[in-house]
Amino acid sequence: MDQVAEAAIDDVMRGAVHFGSGGGGDPYLGRQLLTAAVRRHGPVPLARPDELAPDTLVLPVVSGGTPHALLEKAHDAAEAETLLAAVEARAGRKCGAVLPVQLGSINVALPLVVAAELGLPCLDADLMRRTLPSIDLTLPRLAGHPVPPITVVGGAGVVAEFSSGAGTVLGELVRAVMPALGLVALISAYRLTAGDCTRLGVAGSVSECGRIGSALADVRPARPDGHEPYLRACGGRLACTGTVAEVVQHSADGWPRGVVSVQTPGGLVRIDFQNENLVLSQEGTVLTTVPDLIGVADAETGDLVQTVDLAVGQDVHVITSPVDDRWHTPEGLAMVGPHAFGYAVDPVGFDGASPAAGTR
């Protein structure tokens, strides 16, 4: 894939939902934003990191804030310029491409929109290989790369910069400025070049969304094997099929936590989620955990559904699929394994096997 034209948008956005693992926001807004940008500026050129000069400075872009607030206030056209100017001023040089930080419907659409508005290519790459809830949970940081400088651009030209410090502290600080910015902001972090991205081996993300999204469009939910195209494309498996019995949310420890119960022929299946689906279990047996992907598809339409939008009585398929292997290393699991999210269970891969057992 060398560009995102209007005809490719549906596939890219559908595939981005796959990497949201039940979170990342409803794809409608992202699709609308991207369609409007492509109609105004033309197709967005994609570039592989190794196609650019290695010292090309790139502009990582992520939408900060909460999907619910974004539904009301979906970024202003000047934010991209403001962000670019602030990052270039700090670095003392020009950026040559935009870089998605994570995959998920809004955060695939937004870097493409920003690239269109700035007249830059978008790197066919990202830093998480899925959606994770904090800007410090990336492969560059896993590889020892510092998160700062972080630049936060709110509406009406507000710019906040965090120049140095530990990633987790900065993550909290970024969240702390969000209420004053109306819960929506455009954020950049990590000083990275195209050469860094090549070395990290994070290429192909947007193309991957397009490829998986196209397979999702081929799903024929009425047929018993109707999900095969999607399962083949993402390398995943159908973990179970059932009916949503309950969706509850609570925030006892300050983090929104939730549980979906699905009645299946094999008993009650439970999905623990925060923003994304994190732990899938059945009658006390853990089937799959973060960092692998746990998606829920509507059985009637075949569409992947945001976990918070599930309705009691809805028939669903639970689909698990693999994520970048580096998240399964001991260091990766320490950052994004179930323990890191406060669940006292050991990591289990998408196929039900323990990653520690050497099956991967």
Binding site: G23, Y28, L29, R31, Q32, L33, T35, A36, A37, R39, R40, G64, G65, T66, P67, H68, A69, L71, E72, K73, A74, H75, D76, A77, A78, E79, V113, E117, P133, G155, A156, R175, A176, M178, P179, G182, L183, V184, A222, T243, A245, Q249, H250, S251, G254, P256, G258, Q263, Q274, N275, E300, V305, V308, D309, L310, A311, V312, G313, Q314, D315
Partner: protein, 437 residues
């Protein structure tokens, strides 16, 4: 009265059918009412008329009024201008002047940017003579509709009382785009809806000047006719929703799973205590997502795998409501054997189900928005959501003394350190009876 299938019934105060009229497809609602009254014994004085109007089609939207679209939200909401990603043929057909002006509110109701009244006035002047209706939508307009109201007043001053100005905040839906889209479609359809409702109103008043007129909405509850012209899209899905309620009512039930069998498909839906469970999906009209919620109804095509798929759909519709009976209606009801292991009722007069559902419909109010728990905490927000839902139900015509409520559904805000939650709740109740003379 079901103006879609040309059926009209008169119910007495105990919801028994005392008169009915089976008209021909294409009969106007006013003609149906006239025929019912002319032929209806027992229909001496009709004090309330509830009509299912045909739902708007793509053609209705395209041939409707040209619409001026004003978004209040610059500079915050400019990356996606109004209608920018709509199907091009649709926006070309209906869009008049489109503008985004300074203003709007934050999630907690404080002002995001001052309302640019000069820009609103400029938009109003551009719209004068160029549009038949105007749609106005502002950021966080549900939390604080003040800027929308002020802008609407400026536009109404410029364009005069005959040009409908539809506000996004009149649709209870999270999402600026969803509310804006609903307002634009409602604006395009407002004149046609008004003409249709006025005609019906005139016919009704010739019979009884004191009678009240209501329009059925897509969830089977009602909208007062006075509000009807401003909510034309609310009729979407009304016939099917009323059919589910009415079939249950014909069977003497308030909760039931209903199957309507026709030559080419079966419609399956459940009414529980007078409400249709939500599907969690937003309705699309003419390829545009609206803020209207779609109830959970399924259509099963009558192909070779029909029986097994129908039974699966039935099981899904009854999930969690294991005790309730199945009501079977429709012109092919007799070809469907009784589903196994459930009580089955096949009421007579099944073809009148939608009209009965309309005539016996209740009024509801729903709330779905973000509540900032800045001061009073969760209990305050929940109380406020419930109060807003009850107020909306009463405005829709419900008797405040006998309202019921659904449990408050809560979805917490993620990624941000703000105690806020999306709360959803519906209040519903029978229509307030007119005062007897």
């Amino acid at each position: 009265m079901d103006a879609v299938s040309a059926r009209a019934v008169v119910l007495d105060e105990r919801n028994r059918i005392v008169a009915s009229h089976r008209g021909r497809p294409g009969d106007s609602p006013a003609r149906l009412l006239g025929a019912l009254i002319a032929g209806g014994t027992g229909a001496a004085v009709i004090d309330r008329v509830v009509a299912i109007l045909p739902e708007p089609t793509v053609t209705d939207v395209i041939t409707g009024s040209r619409v001026g679209v004003l978004r209040i939200g610059a500079p915050a909401e400019t990356a996606l201008p109004p209608l920018a990603a709509w199907p091009a043929c649709l926006s070309a057909a209906l869009a008049g002047p489109v503008a985004t002006v300074g203003g709007g509110h934050e999630y907690d109701g404080r002002v995001l940017a001052p309302l640019d009244l000069a820009a609103v006035a400029r938009f109003a002047r551009r719209s004068a003579g160029a549009v038949g209706a105007v749609a106005v939508a502002g950021i966080h307009g549900l939390e604080n509709p003040e800027h929308e109201q002020r802008a609407a007043a400026v536009i109404a001053d410029e364009l005069g009382p005959d040009t409908p100005v539809i506000q996004g905040s009149a649709t209870e839906a999270l999402g600026l785009l969803e509310r804006e889209h609903t307002a634009v479609l409602d604006a395009a359809l407002a004149r046609a809806a008004r003409a249709r409702i006025d005609e019906l109103d005139t016919a009704m008043r010739a019979h009884n000047p004191e009678a009240e007129l209501y329009i059925v909405r897509g969830d089977g509850t009602v909208l007062p006719a006075l509000d009807g012209p401003r909510h034309a899209t609310a009729s979407t899905g009304a016939a099917r929703a009323a059919l589910i309620h009415g079939a249950a009512r014909l069977a003497g039930l308030t909760s039931a799973t209903v199957v309507e069998m026709t030559a080419d498909h079966a419609i399956v839906g459940t009414t529980h205590a007078g409400l249709l469970p939500e599907s969690g999906l937003r309705r699309e009209i003419a390829g545009v997502r609206t803020g209207l919620r779609a109830p959970s109804l399924a259509a099963v095509a009558r192909d070779e795998a029909f029986t097994s798929r129908l039974l699966a759909t039935l099981a899904r519709a009854r999930h969690g409501f294991d005790e309730i009976p199945v009501v079977i209606i429709g012109d092919r009801a007799d070809v469907l054997p009784d589903p196994p292991r459930v009580p089955v009722i096949r009421p007579s007069d099944g073809d009148l189900a939608a009209a009965v559902g309309a005539a016996s419909a209740e009024a509801a109010g729903s709330i779905d928005r973000i509540f900032w728990q800045g001061t009073g905490g969760r209990a305050d927000s929940v109380a406020r959501a419930r109060r807003l839902a009850r107020d909306a139900a009463v405005r829709a015509g419900a008797d405040p003394r006998v309202l019921r409520e659904t449990p408050v559904q809560e979805a917490l805000m993620t990624y941000v350190p703000v105690p806020a939650a999306r709360l959803r709740v519906t209040a519903v109740g029978p229509l307030l009876e007119p005062v007897s003379p």
